[in-house]
């Protein structure tokens, strides 16, 4: 009787675990899918060695197409461009790198991905997020 009960619980728990694992992996699958899609649709392929450099277009103080996720691996170069119709200061948090973009101009960021985690790129003056940098280990 006791063994039967233990067995039942074990089976139930195993099913639950499998369900959770399946659920977890499918979720992360969707996530990265959307991320690639967004950056892909707006700015060509995500940056990689030799790939096109993604460009974030800012119009009226908003990133066109919403906040994009740009993924990089630690150790490689973080490269992306920002074009803006107004003069602004672009600030990458965590790395604490800031560059001025003139009205109607484009600037390029290019720095080594030393810090792992998720960092924001912002229009410093207006406090608006324009991109999310994901630095994977």
């Amino acid at each position: 009787m006791k063994n039967a009960m233990k067995l039942t619980v074990a089976v139930l728990a195993l099913v639950a675990a499998l369900a959770l694992v399946a659920c977890g992996s499918s979720d992360s699958g969707t996530t990265s899918g959307t991320a690639t899609e967004t950056s892909g649709a707006e700015s060509g392929k995500p940056a990689g060695k030799g790939a096109d450099v993604p460009t974030i277009e800012v119009r009226n103080g908003e990133p066109v197409g919403g906040v994009q996720t740009l993924e990089f691996s630690a150790g490689e170069e973080v490269r992306f461009r920002v074009s803006s119709d107004e003069a602004e200061e672009i600030h990458v948090h965590g790395y604490d790198i800031a560059k001025d973009v003139p009205a109607g101009g484009t600037i390029e960021f290019d720095f080594p991905a030393e810090l792992e985690g998720i960092y924001e790129a912002e229009l410093e003056g207006q406090g608006v997020q324009i991109a999310e940098l994901r630095i994977n280990p």
Partner: protein, 461 residues
């Protein structure tokens, strides 16, 4: 749509979600460990007594004597005053102002983390308790008798603290959403309001009585302190078996609500940009469609989700307790509900570590460098010569953070199971019934731990 929860406002850095493979390993280990625990459980309680060993009389006299009490109380009052002053007079930039990091990172996270190891560290530094005691002493000196206090309504128990805890977290993670942000000035005003309320309640019910039951920070930090290895009794400092003081914590009504509020508010904050993100956004849009402003809609939807998570976490616990009633010889539902509440404290701590450990490590660098040297953030002072220093984000790699997160959840799970097993042995003299009752608590713990892992794996998704 711009979200500005606290972690954003201060750090502008977030943890990467736990990868699927680590999630799978974590969940599997949870199950294996759980069944091992069931099979290998001990037969007489191990944590139900403190196994206390008093420390030397000199150590106790120095650390607990009146000079030390006055000094610690004065430090507490000074730091609270400094935080309020910085909030009112300093910069409005959240990350450059001493107030936010000191109150919501150094104290709000630091006291739980360190109290869980060393015992209740907040009590000696509690600024409101210090003021209340001085006021009580002053009253006695002038009136020649002790202040008369109203009897505290027993049934109210720790409910004021549970509701207060939700209110603090609400201010921290819901109020600041939308355009207004979470600014130092608001926090300073809230701190002053809370201080007024607390001192009034202490005057009515007595300082120690209110600290034990109603004062949010005493109750909340004290709860984690019950896991720690040091405690006091009759003016003596003593060493205790870890976790053992937790077994007597929940006897005051409403204690279960405090620990459930802790687990649920951490879950809500951990999930508001991940697991609950879509739900919150949909609800926000719907409320906005009713004609409310964006800020109001964001706050309302956040409030609704926070309460939903609180209800959900509470329901899981109560279902587990209800399940135990089916085991022959079970005590009443009310007794079980109180009796197993303390087994959730390690889970609450694990959630805190998992969600805020990296934030704490990074932000404390700010606390002890530029925020200490330039508390107002005006750029005009450099008290300790560290005003120009910043946060070094390389001190923790993504892998380190992941392992700490998953490790904390596993450790909390195991400690929770041990405490629950112990309590079952007290309630069910028959070992087989005790074990049978623990299938239910096991289900509760597995649910919380896997939910915790799930939140981490979809964080910021």
């Amino acid at each position: 749509m711009k979200f500005l929860p606290l972690a954003h406002a201060l750090a502008s850095r977030q943890d990467l979600p736990v990868p699927a493979w680590l999630f799978a390993w974590g969940a599997s280990i949870v199950l294996v460990v759980s069944f091992f625990a069931l099979a290998a459980g001990w037969r007489s309680p191990r944590f139900e007594r403190l196994h206390e060993r008093p420390l030397g009389a000199v150590v106790s006299r120095v650390l607990l004597g009146l000079p030390a009490q006055v000094l610690c109380g004065a430090i507490g009052v000074f730091l609270l005053g400094l935080a309020v002053y910085a909030g009112l007079e300093g910069t409005e930039a959240p990350d450059r102002n001493f107030a936010l990091t000191f109150l919501f990172v150094t104290c709000w996270l630091g006291f739980p983390f360190f109290s869980a190891i060393f015992g209740d560290l907040f009590r000696p530094f509690n600024p409101w308790r210090a003021i209340g005691r001085v006021a009580g002493t002053g009253f006695r000196a002038i009136a020649g008798q002790r202040a008369a206090h109203a009897p505290y309504p027993e049934r109210l128990g720790r409910w004021p603290a549970a509701i207060g805890l939700l209110a603090v977290v609400w201010l921290e993670v819901v109020y600041g959403k939308g355009g207004v942000g979470f600014d130092p000035h608001t926090v300073a005003v809230a701190t002053l309001l809370y201080s007024t309320y607390t001192l009034a309640m202490m005057a009515v019910f007595g300082t120690e009585e209110w600290c034990e039951r109603g004062e949010v920070f005493s109750v909340y930090f004290g709860m984690f302190g019950r896991l720690g290895i040091f405690g006091t009794r009759d003016g003596r400092l003593e060493r205790r078996r870890p976790f053992s003081a937790a077994t007597t914590w929940a006897t005051i009504p409403g204690s279960a609500a405090v620990v459930i509020a802790s687990i649920s508010s951490t879950s809500f904050d951990g999930g508001q940009e991940g697991a609950f993100k879509d739900g919150i956004e949909n609800l926000t849009d719907w409320i906005e469609g009713l004609g409310f402003s964006l800020t109001t809609s964001l706050r309302l939807s956040g409030t609704v989700f926070m309460l939903l998570v609180f209800a959900g976490v509470g329901l899981i616990y109560l279902l587990g307790v209800r399940g135990m009633r089916t085991v022959p010889g079970a005590p009443s539902f009310a007794k079980l509900r109180v009796g197993f509440a303390h087994t959730l404290i390690p889970i609450a701590l694990a959630y805190l570590v998992a969600h805020y450990f990296s934030f704490f490590v990074f932000q404390e660098q700010a606390q002890f460098t530029f925020l200490l040297s330039d508390p107002l953030g005006t750029g005009t002072t450099d008290l300790f010569g560290t005003a120009a220093s910043g946060v070094d984000y390389t001190v923790l790699t993504a892998n380190t953070i992941w392992y700490v997160q998953v490790g904390a959840l596993l450790a909390g799970h195991v400690i929770g199971l041990m405490l629950a097993h112990d309590r079952a042995l007290v309630y069910w003299p028959d070992y087989r019934n005790a074990t049978a009752s623990q299938y239910w608590m096991l289900a509760v713990m597995v649910a919380f731990t896997c939910f915790g892992l799930y939140l981490l794996s979809v964080a910021n998704g």
